[in-house]
Each structure stands twice: as C-alpha cells, then as structure tokens.
Point group: C2
Chain length 175, copies 2
C-alpha cells in the first residue's frame, strides 16, 4: 500500500481513538492496532505522536469547514446551513474530535486550529444568513446539539425534553 493511503488509514484510526479517549489518552499502540499496522510504523510515518495528533486535528478542521463551505445553495440560509450541519454530525469521530479540541484549546497548537475552525465556519454561516446575530445563534445551537450527541441524549429519556426543544429551534433542520 502506498504511503499516502497508509497515512489516511492511520489518520482514520487515530481520529477514532482520539474521539473515544482524548488526545492524551490516545496511545500510538492502540491507534496502530486499530489501523492494523505496527506501533513503530505509526510513529515512523508521522515522526512521533505529536505530529500525528496535530494532523488529526487539522484534518478535523478541514472537514468541519469544508462541510459548511460545500453546503447546498438552493433554499433558505437556514435550510442550507442546517443541511450542512446534519451532514457534519453524521461523522461521529469528527464531532468528538472537535469537542476534545475545544476542551484542549489552551494548548497553543490546538487553540490555533479551533479558532481557525470557528472563525471560518462563522464567516461562512454569517455570509449566508447575512446577519451576525442570527449566525451566532445558529452556531450556538449547533454547539448544544453537539454535546447532546456526545452524551447520547437521544437514548436517555430524561433528556427528551431538552432534545425536543433543541431540535425544534430554527436551523436544527429536523436532525
């Protein structure tokens, strides 16, 4: 297999592991097993754990921003952005890596990624809405839904009321 294919394969595995246990908890050993390669190969391919984690977060940002950038153009802004968001949250690993990145934004490397991600998503959303306040409300709503998804709220009846209320907000697009 080519180096590039392996890289992607390992990044998938790394994103999956980071999603589950966070950056510090993600061992190159478990990532390697998940990818079906040896641990030293993972280290060698990326030059260490740190560069690997950086790559995981960068790719996450690109995917998040890309999802909104590629949003459909037909229909209202709420529909288009809502549809983009629905596509985004289908990739659970990306969503969880995003949450881990937010929590770890105190780290300069990661903070740069999350700020960049935030800024670009907001600019895209605001551009479509044509209104900063509405865009901020949309993003905030997305944040709430993100954490509800992370805590598996749909399968916990005691959160049903909040889930219903969140999904009913404008822009939730029936997700």
């Amino acid at each position: 297999m080519s180096r590039e294919d392996r890289r992607e394969q390992i990044l998938d595995a790394a994103a999956h592991v980071v999603a589950q246990v966070g950056l510090a908890g993600a061992s190159t050993d478990v990532i390697a097993r998940e990818a079906g390669v040896s641990q030293p190969y993972v280290v060698r391919t990326f030059g260490g754990k740190q560069p690997l984690i950086d790559a995981v977060f960068s790719r996450m940002r690109d995917r998040v921003v890309g999802t909104f950038a590629d949003a459909p153009l037909d229909g209202s802004a709420v529909e288009c952005m809502g549809e983009a968001y629905v596509r985004l949250v289908r990739d659970r690993d990306t969503l969880l890596v995003l949450l881990h990145a937010f929590a770890a934004s105190g780290d300069p490397r990661i903070g740069e990624v999350t700020r960049d991600c935030m800024r670009r998503v907001f600019e895209i959303v605001a551009g479509r809405f044509g209104d900063d306040a509405e865009a901020a409300a949309f993003v905030g709503q997305g944040m709430l839904i993100n954490v509800l998804l992370a805590m598996d709220a749909e399968n916990h009846p005691d959160l049903a009321r909040l889930v219903t209320a969140s999904a009913a907000l404008p822009g939730a697009a029936g997700s």
Copy 2:
C-alpha cells in the same frame, strides 16, 4: 490538616490539572505537586486515580447546577439566568473541566454526570423562562460562549466579530 481539608485542596489541584490537560493527561504526580503533597498521598486519599477524577467531575456538576439553582430572583428570567452564567464562567477550571467532560461523555461514568448536569440546568432555566425553546436557545448560547472562552477568543482579534455577535445575543448579560 484535616482529611476533609486536604481532600478539597487536592480536588482543587486535580480540577486545575484536568482543566489544562484532560482526564487522561492528568497525572497523579502533577496533581500532587500542584496540591503540595506527595503522589502516594493523593492515590491513598481517594483510593486511586479513577475515584479522584470521578470526584472532580461530580464536584464540577454540583457547582454548575448550584450556580443556576442559586441564581438571583429579582429581574427578568434573562437577567437572572444571565447573571448566574456570568458567575459560572468566572471559575475557569470548572468551565474547562465541563468541556472535557462533554468530550468524554462516551465513558458511562462521565456521561451520567454530564447528562445529569445538563438535565438539571435545563430544567432550572426552563422553569425561569417558562418556555423550553427559549431555554434551549439560552443554553446553546452558553455553550458557544464556553468554547469561545476556552479558546481565548477575546484576545484574538480575528474572532472579534463572532465574540461581539455572541455577547449581543439575549441572555449574554454583557459578559
């Protein structure tokens, strides 16, 4: 010093370390140094790292819920809940521990804490607002502000537009 005082002291240190590096990254060694005690003492006091981390998250939930439960009663719902939220985010460690907990909600223990936290905060807020949709919007807005604080958005001019738009939302209470 009494066992109880030491417990609190270590919990403070643990919350601070977890806030910076996450649960997996928080070593009992660093926590001990932060608290000014020996590493074996930390382990001994809580019976291991896991119970210590559990205690950190439980205390975080109690503080978050308590802040809203103790919100002032004078003024409008937006003002009261906004004021409670402003008090909450003054404790940076609690805020960051909350974000780490969200990301780690896949873990059953932690998921239970975050869901409990979410449910109770939402019920308090919804009770004050008298409207689930408004309450959900308020919480979503809080989520957005949380991550903006985590990524130190105030000190990054390229996020000024988003910060301004978020702060201008109803309920932000000039935070």
